[in-house]
Amino acid sequence: MLEVAVIGAGPGGLSAAARCAELGVDHVLLESSPKIASTIQKYQKGKHVMAEPGILPLRSPIEFDAGKREEILDNWETGIKAVGVKIRYGAEVKSITGEQGNFVITLTNGESLEARHVILGIGLQGNPRQLGVPGDQADVIQYTLDDPDEYKNETIAVVGAGDAAIENAIALANHNKVFIINRKDEFARAKEGNLNLMMAAIDAGTIECFYNSAPAAVELLEGQEFRANLQLKTSTGEANIPLHRIIARLGAIPPRSLVESFGIEFPNSDQNAIPALTSQYESNIKGMYVIGALGGYPLIKQAMNQGYEVVEYILGHDVKPADHDLLANKFNGLPYDLDVDGVLALMQERIPVFAGVNALQFRELMLDSKVLAPAKGAAIFQKNDYTNTFFTILEGSVDIEINAQLRISSGVGSFFGEMSLMSGRRRSATVYAGDQCVVIETPRRSMIKLIASVEAVKRVLDETFIVRTIQQKFAPNTPIAELQPIAARAKIHQYQPREVIFQEGDEADTLHFIRNGSVTVSTFIDGRDVVMSYVPANTPIGEMALLGNTTRTATVTAAVKTETISIDKASFNLLLERSSGLKERLQALVQERHAQNVALQSNTESSDLLSFLMGQGLGEATDVLLIDEDICVGCDFCEAACAATHNGTSRLNRKAGPTFAHIHVPTSCRHCEDPSCMKDCPPDAIQRGGLGGEVFIGDNCIGCGNCERNCPYGVIQMAYKTEAPDSYWRWMLFGLGQKPGKGKAAVVGESSFKQAVKCDMCKDQHGGPACVRACPTGAAMRLSPEEFVDLVNVVR
């Protein structure tokens, strides 16, 4: 029986196996693909791999430092050979049964192994989905494509209809005869750019497409010109393609179901959820450990450190985690005579919202967080700041100033800042430090991850959000305790884009408060829906009918993914009773909305324009660049100014993007409330901040391209840094150097690599966004959603 079976030869698995080998522990490393580190193998040739987080020391028997993909893979190959790792390639695990001291690992080829401990380091990529037809194990079939230029003058079939399949097919078509096999009658899953390229290639005849077709079998042809025959089932019958190579791009099977089949539990069905682990990376199954991306640690260095540590833990050695010194430094100034683990335990004990978090997750959370001890009276954040970190109070107290009349004191164990965390909007209050105050500031990304995986945290935050919202927006002078019964009856609702929240003519029984996202208000006139207005987050809707005791006078539809808090009629009436002045304030709001609606109702063009803007995703924007085509002279100074102020690459494309009436939406960042780009950034390089709420990408970007793929608006590019522009006067007087606004592309060398770039709203420039400042005619404008309705009114 083996002491340790390591599954997955990624950075974590390699490091774990190497540590076993170094210590002479009987082990095996099982890897399903034919090479180590399959995720990194898939990176493009020569890609620069970064070693974030820079402050974390590496602890592993094998080397790792930032550098080219090839060098890193070479280092690892030599590293595991040098220490004598026992690795088995092509060994795909089908099931794991048994318990600590006696696990049975069965492989897909039927073989089984026994081990006392199992370390899972299988990452999140999953194994590529196979063709699933007779002959699909043949070596003419491959599931990845490293370098399309490797193949020339071959006949190749690409199976699949996603972006990967299209990109491969188009790249291969330069030198080969390419078929693409599509199960459906269109390329519905592809990005628009890829779709256009594919359609053009099919029209031009460079790629031949089999629609409504699926592979039926692969037969090898011996000693002939073609290596195999691909049999297809098409809508009109059978077809045969003699070919040299089949590239199957059918996506990957997410590892979660496999991991669950081993018995490992996830806290909920959220796709971002990570299995609950102890501080020693042990899962709910004793003796089974989870490291790396699967355990919520997407970075290479973290995974390698965990690989080392987990072996030490299995052997019962008491090692401090690699991040120990970092935490010790962070806790340095605290008034406690405790070691790192002691401080962490104290924090969890004092702060109820963190009580249900497991030790490992909490440790990670604290690594990302800052411990601050602001002087008494100092502002921790200001009302209308665009920050969205989350604060908890470890010592002392803070004063939360919602408005001039309302100042609430909050003590040890409570939290604040959750409103902006949840809504992605500006801070709704100013918070001042009290006496002897120590607070923990946690970044948004870490909190979102925590909320996704710990149900209790989500519940506590939601409850607090509701009661504080009710207090701030409806009953500022009523104490929280009195509002609790109302809050308890309030509900949180989620709506998908274009889902109706309530319909014109419905009975008015609830008031909704938009917590995040935004909605459009429309009414049915002359046989069609006319959009009258747009309502952003942090605003109540539906109060009109509730106040007047009538039916709904308009239909409210989610413009983007939206969450609302609903308050029923009885609670609403209770609120009106308890909070003096609320009725008057709501009536004033109703009047204002009536006036706006009447103004817009009569004009279908402005309604269409509003619908168009919403259709362009502006409902989730916080700041967007629009161009008035009736004034734009097409000089492209906006682009030149953007390039000149941003290392030579313009982050906006003026010509691209749609136009309606005369309002043009160029391809440029909308600074979404809940940015898709931020969702999967391994080094957490994409941040939101400043007074403008700009979403920007920091220098620690590792160039992985996730954000570029995740952005639904195509506004992120991968670009090399360029040199500073030349002197204007040299260009002007002598024609030397480059025209202003055109940077020199940097030499593609050893140290240069592509990083993600996007609009940062010129946060480092004086005087605001360069695109707008450089526009000679006034056509370029930047708007926040609140201003859309004004724009529509002005436009008429």
Binding site: D203, D628, E629, D630, I631, C632, V633, G634, F637, A640, A641, A644, T645, K655, T659, F660, A661, H662, H664, Y728, M732, P740, G741, Q765, H766, G767, A770, V772, R773, A774, C775, P776, T777, G778, A779, A780, M781, L783, E787, D790, L791, V794
Partner: protein
């Protein structure tokens, strides 16, 4: 919210220019020099200095609009000021001259300045008029979009004529191949169409594609059966292609009219600068 350069900051520079003009005119009317009004009086020197400084500042717009990094204010504000104060220069300089003109370097500078101002005036009009006209013409599409539609239309026509008689194929193919857009500055501004077509081995001019359309319509009268039906489709699609070409030509023309003034305005400004230097130097030499 957004405003055009003309109404920047509530027309601040319009009012500034107006005040400047009124002040200069009042000073001119009140001034009673010992000689006929000219550039050499106390007021003449004052107006001349103001004019020369204004010219230098107006020229500096070329630098400011390319300074994307540190520039003070917005380019829109600068353009607004450039337009109104540039217009007021006409009054300042004319009063400076005391209406004394002749055939000399001084009047040359004045004439050049007028040409610069008038070309700029045209530019203002063009910038206000043409973008909206072009947007309406193209129905909110870009010129690239329309070129793409033309490409599609060409492909569609080529497929349609594939099964038709050789004479039709010859005419339509040659008409597509010999379609021209753009060309010289004059061809762009006047939207002249130099397109050709080959009919029976002879090259004909085909302005606005009318030669081909009329040939196709005539050919349709002698077509029969299935050919007639297909040819009718070709005629319809050729008509659509003709419309696209008209939009493209009109847009190129508008674009030319919108930008052409800069080819006078900028070189003349430098000419003016040279003449201005000569004017100032000569005045001091011949004092």
């Amino acid at each position: 919210m957004h405003t055009s350069f003309l109404s920047h900051a509530g027309g601040r520079y319009f009012w500034l220019a107006l005040v400047l003009i009124i002040a200069c005119c009042t000073a001119y009317l009140l001034d009673e020099p010992h000689q006929a009004p000219n550039g050499g009086t106390w007021l003449g020197y004052t107006l001349g200095t103001m004019g020369a400084l204004l010219i230098l500042w107006l020229l500096y717009l070329g630098r400011r609009k390319r300074n994307f990094i540190q520039g003070w204010g917005t380019v829109r504000g600068w353009v607004s000021a450039h337009v109104y104060l540039g217009g007021s220069l006409l009054v300042v300089a004319t009063l400076h001259s005391g209406f004394q003109f002749g055939i000399n370097i001084h009047t040359l500078a004045y004439v050049l300045m007028c040409l610069v101002i008038f070309s700029g005036g045209y530019g203002v009009w063009a910038y206000v008029t043409y973008p909206a006209a072009r947007n309406e013409l193209k129905r909110s599409q870009t010129l690239d979009d329309i070129f793409m539609q033309l490409e599609d239309a060409d492909g569609q026509l080529k497929r349609e004529i594939g099964s038709l008689a050789a004479d039709i194929r010859g005419v339509v193919t040659s008409a597509i191949e010999r379609t021209e857009v753009g060309g010289s500055l004059w061809a762009q501004l006047a939207a002249v169409d130099h397109s050709k077509v080959i009919i029976d081995g002879v090259v004909h001019a085909n302005p606005d594609q009318v030669k081909v359309v009329s040939w196709l319509v005539q050919r349709l009268t002698i077509a029969e059966g299935a050919e007639s039906k297909k040819l009718a489709g070709v005629v319809r699609d050729y008509g659509a292609r003709q419309k696209l070409l008209r939009v493209i030509r009109a847009d190129i023309r508008f674009n030319g009219l919108q930008e052409v003034w800069l080819y006078l305005h900028v070189p003349l400004s430098f000419g003016l600068l040279a003449a201005l230097i000569a004017h100032i130097v000569s005045v001091f030499i011949y004092w």
